[in-house]
């Protein structure tokens, strides 16, 4: 492994253009670190969509409420894995909790993550499902599953209307706390990059905001797509008012994210500081396909155009469904490309601003393509398991009164 890695680096040496500091040949943050903000973004986006219904009473999106929460949980459970796999000394990862360096943005990850997972998401899902969990713990015929539900009740099987009303109240309060927590979680991921002054491609105060809005777009796109897929797979009717409303929020998030990215680009070009030449070369060269074509054209402009058409004209249901799913798929690819362009793109050019290194992704190996694919699909496996254990359909509308 070691010898073959050295061989890869030696090969990469022949692909360096211009001058780079000698230590810069090796790209430090690989494809796994591309996955990390992508997965976290899906968490934040899905949760923000869920909170639309809970906090802002957008009742039309109710059919996606529980699905959004489960998606957020599935992706959140996997989010730290790419980081963990990437560490040189994974067995010491826990030191981030034990002896955090308070001046390090990264050290805060553990706390933001644990807060969001333990204090917000798990409690909210539990409260929302409590009534069913109690029912399943009594009626489930398959005993291991019944035991699982029994454990999940934590010994509380009071489902009186008063107790459910308290659940609802606490749940709503939690979502109100959860919303800034979700924003914090992903804004923080942007800060990890935005606060690195050594790298002009990353160092911008807009980075957390751009990450946040693209996260919202990706999370909403993810939920939209999974919802439509599940309806199709279960041979159920797709609630058109629901996906029409979700699509509106999707379009809004896309427009804000795209506008912020453009503002950032314009500002960089207009100020044209010392690093501008190398950044233009980067965008027009190594990142042309992944940034201009995939991220901007395919991942932003086409979805905005398609979703815009649905807003402007009264298109038939079938066409809207096709447009929505196409936009969701395209922007999910586009946002993955955006993460790639930030993480890997930012490491292509030398901090001497005089040249470029290259990235040769391994196929196997700890940080190879296979590893990335496995980690990338793992949240979907977890989601399938969660859907099996906590089916979001059926009684989902039981607990709350319709607002007047």
């Amino acid at each position: 492994m070691h010898a073959s890695y050295m061989e890869t680096l030696r090969e990469a040496m022949s692909m360096v253009s211009g001058y780079i500091y000698p230590n810069e040949l090796e790209l430090q943050w690989s494809v796994l670190i591309v996955l990390y903000p992508y997965i976290t973004g899906l968490v934040a986006g899905a949760f923000i969509l869920a909170s639309l219904e809970r906090v802002f009473n957008v009742t039309a999106v109710k059919p996606t409420y529980r699905l959004s929460l489960l998606m957020a949980l599935a992706f959140l459970l996997i989010a730290p894995l790419p980081l963990q796999v990437h560490l040189g000394q994974p067995q010491r990862a826990f030191e981030i909790f034990m002896t955090p360096n308070t001046s390090s943005a990264m050290a805060m990850f553990g706390f933001v993550y644990v807060w969001y997972l333990m204090a917000v998401l798990l409690v909210e899902i539990w409260l929302d499902y409590r009534r069913e969990i109690v029912a399943w713990s009594k009626s489930e015929p398959f005993w291991p599953k019944r035991l699982f539900y029994k454990l999940l009740t934590f010994g509380v099987d009071n489902v009186s209307p008063r107790s459910l009303a308290i659940d609802d109240k606490v749940g709503r309060a939690l979502t109100v706390i959860g919303l800034p927590s979700a924003v914090l979680l992903h804004g923080y991921v942007g800060f990890i990059f935005g606060s690195i002054k050594a790298n002009p491609w990353w160092s911008t105060p807009l980075m957390p905001v751009i990450f946040l809005f693209s996260a919202m777009a990706s999370g909403i796109a993810g939920v939209l797509l999974v919802y439509m897929f599940l309806c199709w797979a279960r041979d159920e009717h797709i609630e058109m008012p629901c996906i029409d409303t979700v699509a509106k929020f999707f379009l809004t998030a896309l427009i804000v994210a795209f506008t912020l990215e453009m503002l950032e680009t314009l500002q960089t070009a207009y100020e044209a500081e010392e690093h501008f030449d190398i950044i233009s070369l980067l965008v027009e060269g190594k990142l042309y396909f992944s940034m201009i074509f995939v991220q901007m054209f395919m991942g932003s402009l086409i979805p905005m155009f398609l979703l815009g058409l649905c807003q402007l004209f009264e298109l038939p249901e079938k066409v809207r469904k096709v447009f929505y799913s196409a936009s969701a798929i395209l922007s999910l690819i586009g946002i993955l490309a955006m993460r790639w362009n930030v993480v890997v793109g930012g490491q292509f050019f030398s901090k001497s601003l005089r040249g470029f290194t290259t990235y040769k992704m391994e196929l196997a190996g700890r940080e190879g393509l296979v590893s990335a694919l496995v980690l990338g699909f793992m949240p979907l496996v977890v989601l399938a398991l969660l859907l099996y254990l906590l089916p979001p359909w059926g009684e989902s509308a039981h607990r709350r009164k319709e607002p007047a």
Binding site: Y19, Y21, P22, E26, I96, S103, M106, S350, R354
Partner: protein, 250 residues
Amino acid sequence: MNRRHFLRTAALAVAAFAGRAVAAPLAAAEKFFKEPPWRRKKPYWGYAVDVAKCIGCGRCVDACKTENDVPREPFYFRTWVERYVLRRTGEVSVDSPNGGLDGYPAPREPESIAQSFFVPKLCGHCENSPCEQVCPVGASFKTVDGVVLVDRKYCIGCRYCIQACPYGCRYFHPELQVADKCTLCYHRITKGLQPACVENCPTGARMFGDLSDPESALTKFRETERIQTLKPHMGTEPKLVYKGLHKEVR
């Protein structure tokens, strides 16, 4: 809450804010005008490079790799030497083949060269070191005598510090799987010796010394020469200074 109670609370709050309004600028000013740490701590190590004296022999790079068991592959360095070639056309080319360890190929079209020089590079042991700032577990730290080090037994290998260093001075050790960098040969300087690179420099281009000692050669050098640091706009305050740095050097 009656009116008297309310007024008393409000007056206390205003007094607290007023007190802070006086104290905060004073504290900020004190921080701004503070003396460099080497006025307070002894010893406090610093480093200087006289660019004009470097001949690009690469002995420092070799000495560093040998002394500190730095991997021999050409992409891991604690110190390296860059060659700058500035042509009359305005073209600037920089190279550092194998960190300058094996010498440099003869430049093409020597008649078109306006000037050429070598610049040794190493960690600046910055006062405001971004690597130390971003390390999530505090494995990167500054010693009481001003040297930025990595605790190999504590580093988790996240590589955030490598990203944060504006000067490219850190690398990821392929065997140890932790971040690695120049220690100013801490094992030597704490015994009264010079760092290996300084000891092996045949021209005296590299200088090491105690900034807290007003009589040290380094202090005299800093007092009498026009010195510069790399990328001063980063605000990192490196303790590595250069004499005769060209504007093209980054």
